[in-house]
Amino acid sequence: MDLASLVSCFGSPACVITQVTSGLIIGMLLFLVAAGLTLIFGVLKVINFTHGAFYMLGAYFALTIFKLTGSYVITLFGAAFGTALVGLVFERLFISRVYGRNMLMQLLVCYGFILIFDDVVKIVWGAEFRSMGMPTIFQVPPIFIAGGVVPPFYLFLVGVTIVIGVVLWLVIERTRFGKVVRALAYNPTMVSVLGINTGILYGLVFALGGLLAGFAGALAAPVRSLTPGMGFSILIESFIVTVIGGMGSIVGAFVGSLLIGLIRTFGSVGFPLFTDGLMYLFMVVVLISKPTGLFGKEIA
């Protein structure tokens, strides 16, 4: 424990700016993955353990597309839509068969496919770790704001993620499609009685979750090593986020991600050997005080 450093950090604008932006960076990437996870759970009532694998697929798609095109914009969209397509096919062929089934069966199917996706990545891209490299446009020195360090790539990452978050919220809350999806979460039988093909809707929601995870993978690819199984650690953190924010709540996922990001960055200053522990401790505190999570009621 290094409380003196933490207090000193709060007294320094440079430290606060650096740690807050770092918290945003960690949090925003988590948000993209957690938003998809919570959306799928909220509507489909499936805890999608393969979600980390979609993040991994997004990163590997990005690696290949960037190598082929050299354009990071094409890479981002290509990886996101590629992963969405995989998600759609996966949902139609496999996940759709376990809706309403025992949760253990759902877990078994998801776990089996985690192993399969990992092996597919090994076969296609190899078992060794890979690196995509930073797009040329972002190979610039960091920006200094009041002494705090902010890399331009991370500004882009945070900006893009906030835009995606806002668009996602607008789609779910303000469009007819969003209304149908919300209705599907509450009462799928009634939705189908209205003549809406719920099977296609389920597939689209799952694909949307895959799209978000794939986008996150493509955003992470320039700065993280790509390796089979890389989705596992982000999956665990995403679960913590969704538990804190409330399963099924996109706003909860956003707030939960931000809180986890800030806990990690300020925790590394004040509690360098207990940063992970802090995360779990916070989750326990939330669960005790509000078992449905901070925004859990929104999907009740």
């Binding site: 770790f129 700065v223 993280r224």
Partner: protein, 420 residues
């Protein structure tokens, strides 16, 4: 009667003699065939999971050298047949595989190409089965330095932590003196290797430059994907120099993420595991001026033999060799030299021949490698530090470590740890 008896005895003797001759005639070629039968060498290594690339390079290097040995007549007349199994990087699996290789597959020698955790497990199997065993990848010094661990049939044919720490400390102190670097920070993976290696490096850095102060330490988890919080902590601490023993994908992530904070232009960085092709060829924006210990690079030792070996490996496997590759190649070279010296392929006699054996090698600091008799470990290998450039040869100039100094300080270290 007597005559008859004598006559009967004679007939039996004739029959016995004829039978013995017949068996002898039939058995003779069988015996010579048995002598020519291939000698099986078992090799547990890591062929799946995150370290698979290193295990695969171990296998590749062994096969490259075994082909040469077999072409030259094998081990004292018996060609080598390698039996290579995946331990998945799990110690209990490494021990099981090693035992299976001996008991079920009939292997007569073990090349233990495990990382440290697995190596200690295989070591116990070798102790139990009294099987000649060459450890090729474990860098934990205690494996051979600790007399309690030592057995007559096990040898270390690879680099070790204490040697790296002495050379790293001496090199870093020299740079620190020249650039007046007194404020240091460390950032290493949070497990036994990371903590031990960092402690030893700092110990020898302070030995050579006592005014060094370690301002802070960061211990990211093994296989941590995001280093943002670590990087910002380093930037807040503002050390003049940073030491790290991150490796593989963790090191490349750290470098890529550090690049966007311009970390390496602000802080003199010493990353002991940078100069290995597994990291050098993967990092897309390799910064100039990172100090690194040599793991394996074809430019150190800067000899035609070393470059030729690296090129031959690359031609066969379409990638550069790794640190684990040269070590495993060396194990086969030592076995071949021991068999030639003692004209035998018997494990016990090979072990006797290996003690104190010196061979010519592209990986030796002066073209030679020795298995030191007293602790059955490799010395004289090329060891040094240099700085990176973004393109090949990546680390153009390496300052070689002084083996006289290494051996002196190693002896003092052993004494301090009650190993002597």
């Amino acid at each position: 009667m007597a005559t008859h008896r004598r006559s009967g005895i004679n007939r039996r003797a004739v029959i016995k003699g004829a039978t013995a001759t017949a068996i002898g005639v039939i058995a003779a070629p069988m015996t010579s065939r048995a002598q020519a039968k291939a000698i099986k060498i078992g090799m547990p290594t890591i062929l799946s999971g995150r370290v698979a690339q290193l295990g695969t390079s171990s296998r590749n290097a062994v096969m490259l050298e075994v082909d040469k040995v077999n072409a030259a007549g094998g081990l004292a007349g018996r060609s080598i047949e390698m039996v290579i199994r995946d331990s998945k990087g799990q110690p209990q699996e490494a021990a099981r595989v090693a035992r299976e290789l001996v008991n079920s597959d009939g292997c007569e020698i073990l090349i233990d190409a495990e990382a440290s955790s697995g190596a200690f497990a295989v070591h116990e199997v070798a102790r139990d089965l009294k099987m000649l065993c060459l450890h090729t990848n474990s860098e934990t010094s205690a494996l051979t330095a600790d007399p309690k661990q030592r057995i007559p049939n096990a040898f270390r044919v690879c680099r070790q932590g204490i040697h790296d720490s002495i050379v790293g400390g001496a090199y870093a102190a020299k740079v620190a003196n020249a650039k007046k670097l007194t404020k240091w920070m460390t950032c290493s993976p949070d497990y036994a290797y990371g903590r031990d290696t960092t402690a030893q490096f700092v110990e020898y850095l302070k030995h050579f430059k006592p005014d060094v102060e370690v301002m802070s330490e960061a211990w990211p988890k093994l296989f941590q994907p995001d280093y943002t919080e670590v990087l910002t902590k380093i930037l807040q601490t503002k050390p003049q120099a940073l030491y790290s023993c991150l490796w593989g994908g963790d090191l490349t992530s750290f470098i890529e993420q550090g690049n966007i904070y311009a970390l390496f232009t602000q802080i003199e960085t010493f990353a002991v595991n940078m100069a290995d092709y597994t990291a050098l060829t993967v990092v897309k924006n390799l910064p100039k001026g990172i100090h690194s210990g040599n793991r394996y690079i074809k430019t150190f030792p800067k000899t035609p033999q070393n470059a030729t070996w690296a090129d031959a490996y690359r031609a066969k496997y379409n990638e550069y060799p790794t640190n684990w590759a040269w070590q495993n190649a060396t194990a086969v070279n030592f076995l071949a030299a021991a068999a030639k010296k003692a004209n035998t392929n018997d494990g016990v006699k090979l072990a006797e021949a290996l003690r104190g054996l010196t061979i010519d090698s592209p990986f030796g600091s002066d073209g030679k490698l020795t298995v030191r008799a007293e602790d059955q470990t490799l010395i004289g290998y090329a060891i040094g530090w240099g700085t990176t450039i973004p393109t090949e040869p990546y680390v153009p100039d390496v300052t070689a470590g002084d083996w006289k100094q290494i051996i002196e300080l190693e002896a003092a270290w052993k004494k301090k740890n009650n190993y002597l």
